[in-house]
């Protein structure tokens, strides 16, 4: 990968996440602790399509939850209904570009459709990928990261108060090693 391409990808991701996630504190309050009833914004077809998309971005495995277990679709619906409402048109159109039958495609064909979208319209792909990551790793109060699925995956503990040693290398024996 050339420096130029990697640079574009990097900036593109930063730009997308900034766009997607730009809200007022009041919007955030409205978004926190969502109920688990009907979806506010997404239609049943969109729920199915985005659920399939999210499950390919961060797949589930035995013993290790993915986007599905983290309730990423619920998070996204909630976000589109509140702090990310201005992203609704872009989200809807990006999701539609995966094709009407996306949810019912066999997994290999879903992956192929996603690769095609990423290649033909990277920005649209990022409009869909970004909320998957936010819903996977944000504070659970926004309805995603259910049961801390995302944080458990990466090993982030939300204790918010630590004492040394923080990791392996600052244990007294390791820190004293002079090799």
């Amino acid at each position: 990968m050339s420096d130029d391409i990697s640079r574009r990808a990097f900036v593109g991701a930063a730009g997308t996440i900034a766009l997607w996630l730009a809200a007022s504190p009041a919007d955030l309050l409205a978004a926190s602790n969502p109920d688990q009833g009907t979806y506010k914004v997404l239609t049943p077809d969109q729920v199915a399509a985005f659920d399939a998309f999210a499950a390919q971005v961060i797949p589930s495995e035995p013993g290790s939850g993915g986007a599905r277990e983290a309730n990423v679709v619920r998070f996204t619906d909630n976000a589109l209904a509140s702090f990310a409402s201005d992203q609704r048109p872009a989200f809807t159109s990006a999701l539609a570009s995966l094709g009407r039958r996306f949810a019912s495609l066999p997994p290999a064909q879903q992956v192929a459709a996603m690769r095609a979208l990423d290649k033909s319209n990277h920005d649209a792909f990022e409009v869909l990928r970004t909320p998957v990551l936010a819903g996977m790793f944000a504070n659970p109060s926004y309805g995603g990261n259910a049961n801390r699925t995302g944080w458990k995956l990466i090993g982030f503990e939300d204790r918010f108060s630590w004492k040394p040693p923080f990791g392996f290398y600052d244990t007294p024996t390791e820190a004293a090693r002079h090799d």
Partner: protein, 560 residues
């Protein structure tokens, strides 16, 4: 709480001794020093007055939604590479927008500048394409004020451990924060390469200090507010001490649009829009502008008058020019065992062997390096993995699982040369939500700085390798916008034709106007400007108070 606090109130029609614009790193110090010296002070702050109860470890709200920084939705920027281009909308500069300013959300790296930073021009000579100059003050003149900063706000560190440290008159008031795994690994790499790792000096309390609690190592320093009051922001140090004098009023949610001046060429007050967007004019005998390196020049340029057709204090045409924000290089390294860099302060050890480069490299300036982990989970999932890693799918998931706790990030902080055409100016087309022209940034890297960042990236990656990384990866070298550390745009100097303020931060053109913040810098140093901003603010305050006491700020007083 975002509303005004209890305490002294002045009426806008009252002519107060000073209006300070901006309650950040510099404005907080100036407000405290001037009110302690017996003067009446009104501080106008664009952002809200938040308290530690408002600070949460909520990445979505704080980091991604700009809860503590300028809001690009209401206050957009434009950007262009060169002056002959038409600027396009782009989030180009970022700064703290709250009482406490950038010190609320900063990382707390408190590096003093070194002696060379003030005299690099005369030592090394001119650099083509840059307009470097010596500062009108030396490190020795500023040293007592560095010590004041460290003791007044509370800085943790260990004097004598860094062989490259400039001379100091006092030790740190607090011992260094505990070493982290990232710090041990930097020590290990440095030892192997014959370099010197030293404890990071940080404006975070390692022990209780002046009624504030010690750090609990939550790991949410950078971009977050500190709910323990352990981070030594002006919000929990200078501001409450200013208010305690009974002479200082902090007015949050006050958006300054103009500094008013009269036919005699003196400033008379400050116009702002309050929270309800009502126009208010606060009268003042003198004004201290501490709005940061982007907002200070913007305000001067927006305050034209018959006598100041090019903007206030801008007879030189230098206002807004020579923008610098420090360069950098960023790389990742994967280690075998858990590093858990997300716990504790952002870094704990620094290497400054490359602060001044040997002439054989043919590169001006230099830099410092730390090992850190400052990517919270959403940011890590977006930006933390190597650039050629997958961005979705099972392999991506497994990499997130394997990398988050075992990654170390190398950040090099570097010189950025003062280039006249790199500038903050008023955009001729776009207006913000308050109807004011938006900040237009013009910036292109100087070729020397590109070479310097490449050099530092290579050294940093060698350090990761030497520390035992099983894999290392670089990140792109170009500046990532929006940029922070906004410096140099109202540079100080002895020559009124080439600088905006004198060595005491007094505007050359306006006897009762002072500009005190990162805009005063003549050179960028090597990163981590806040301690220098505050040392300058303590020093400036002393002189401003003296001038006011002597009557030298009154109309008709002769300028010394």
């Amino acid at each position: 709480m975002t509303e005004q606090q209890a305490g002294v109130r002045y009426r806008p029609a009252d002519e107060v001794d000073f209006v300070v614009i901006g309650a950040g790193a510099a404005g907080g110090v100036v407000a405290r020093e001037l009110s302690r010296s017996g003067f009446s002070v009104v501080v106008l702050e664009q952002g809200p007055y938040l308290r530690e109860s408002d600070f949460h470890h909520d990445e979505l709200a704080v980091l991604q939604l700009a809860a503590l920084t300028n809001d690009f939705k209401r206050s957009p920027n434009t950007f262009r590479l060169r002056p002959e281009e038409t600027a396009k909308p782009k989030n180009s500069v970022q700064y703290g927008r709250a009482v406490g300013g950038g010190t609320v959300h900063f990382t707390g790296n408190y590096w003093r500048f070194h002696e060379v930073d003030f005299v690099e021009h005369s030592r090394k000579g001119a650099v083509a394409g840059a307009n470097r100059d010596d500062w009108p003050i030396t490190y020795a003149e500023l040293e007592p004020y560095y010590s004041r900063v460290e003791w007044e706000i509370g800085v943790s560190g260990e004097a004598g451990k860094n062989p490259f440290d400039p001379p100091r008159s006092r030790p740190y008031p607090l011992p260094p924060l505990p070493v982290k795994s990232t710090g041990v690994l930097l020590e290990r790499g440095a030892r192997k390469l014959g370099l010197h790792a030293a404890p990071s000096p940080m404006a975070i309390l390692s022990r209780p200090y002046r009624g504030r609690a010690a750090c609990v190592h939550c790991g949410f320093c950078e971009t977050f507010g500190c709910e323990m009051r352990a981070k030594s922001s002006t919000l929990v140090t200078m501001i409450p001490e200013a208010e305690a004098t009974g002479r200082c009023e902090i007015r949050p949610l006050s958006y300054v649009t103009r500094i008013e001046s009269n036919a005699a060429g003196r400033v008379t007050g400050v116009a702002y829009l309050d929270a309800a967007r009502r126009q208010v004019l606060q009268r003042a005998k003198a004004v201290v502008l501490s709005a940061n390196g982007a907002e200070s020049p913007r305000l001067l340029l927006n305050s034209t008058a018959a006598r100041f057709p090019n903007g206030l204090a801008n007879s030189s045409g230098v206002v807004g020019t020579h923008l610098m924000f420090n360069g950098g290089a960023f790389a990742g390294g994967l280690f075998e065992q858990p590093v858990n860099g997300y716990r504790g302060t952002v870094n704990s050890r620094i290497v400054q062997d490359f602060y001044e480069l040997d002439a054989k490299h043919g590169i001006d300036g230099g830099g410092g390096i730390d090992f850190r982990h400052d990517l919270t989970p959403i940011a890590f999932a977006n930006f933390g993995l190597p650039m050629d890693a997958p961005t979705w799918g099972m392999d991506y998931k497994h990499m997130l699982r394997d990398y988050y706790t075992r990654s170390v990030f190398m950040l090099a902080h570097t010189t950025q040369l003062p280039v006249p055409s790199n500038a903050i100016s008023l955009d001729p087309t776009y207006k913000d939500a308050w109807g004011q022209p938006v900040i237009r940034t013009t910036f292109s890297d100087h070729a020397n700085d590109v070479k310097l960042n490449r050099f530092m990236l290579d050294r940093g990656m060698e350090l990761l390798d030497a520390a035992g990384a099983t894999k290392t990866w670089p990140f792109p070298l170009e500046p990532l916008f929006p940029v922070v550390h906004l410096l140099g745009t109202c540079r100080m100097g002895n020559d009124p034709r080439k600088s905006v303020v004198d060595k005491y931060h007094r505007a050359h053109d306006v006897p009762n106007l002072f500009v005190v913040d990162g805009s005063s810098f003549v050179t960028s140093g090597r990163g981590q400007p806040t301690e220098t901003i505050q040392a300058l603010a303590f020093r400036a305050s002393e002189h401003i108070a003296r001038l006011a006491r002597e009557g030298a700020l009154r109309a008709g007083a002769k300028r010394s």
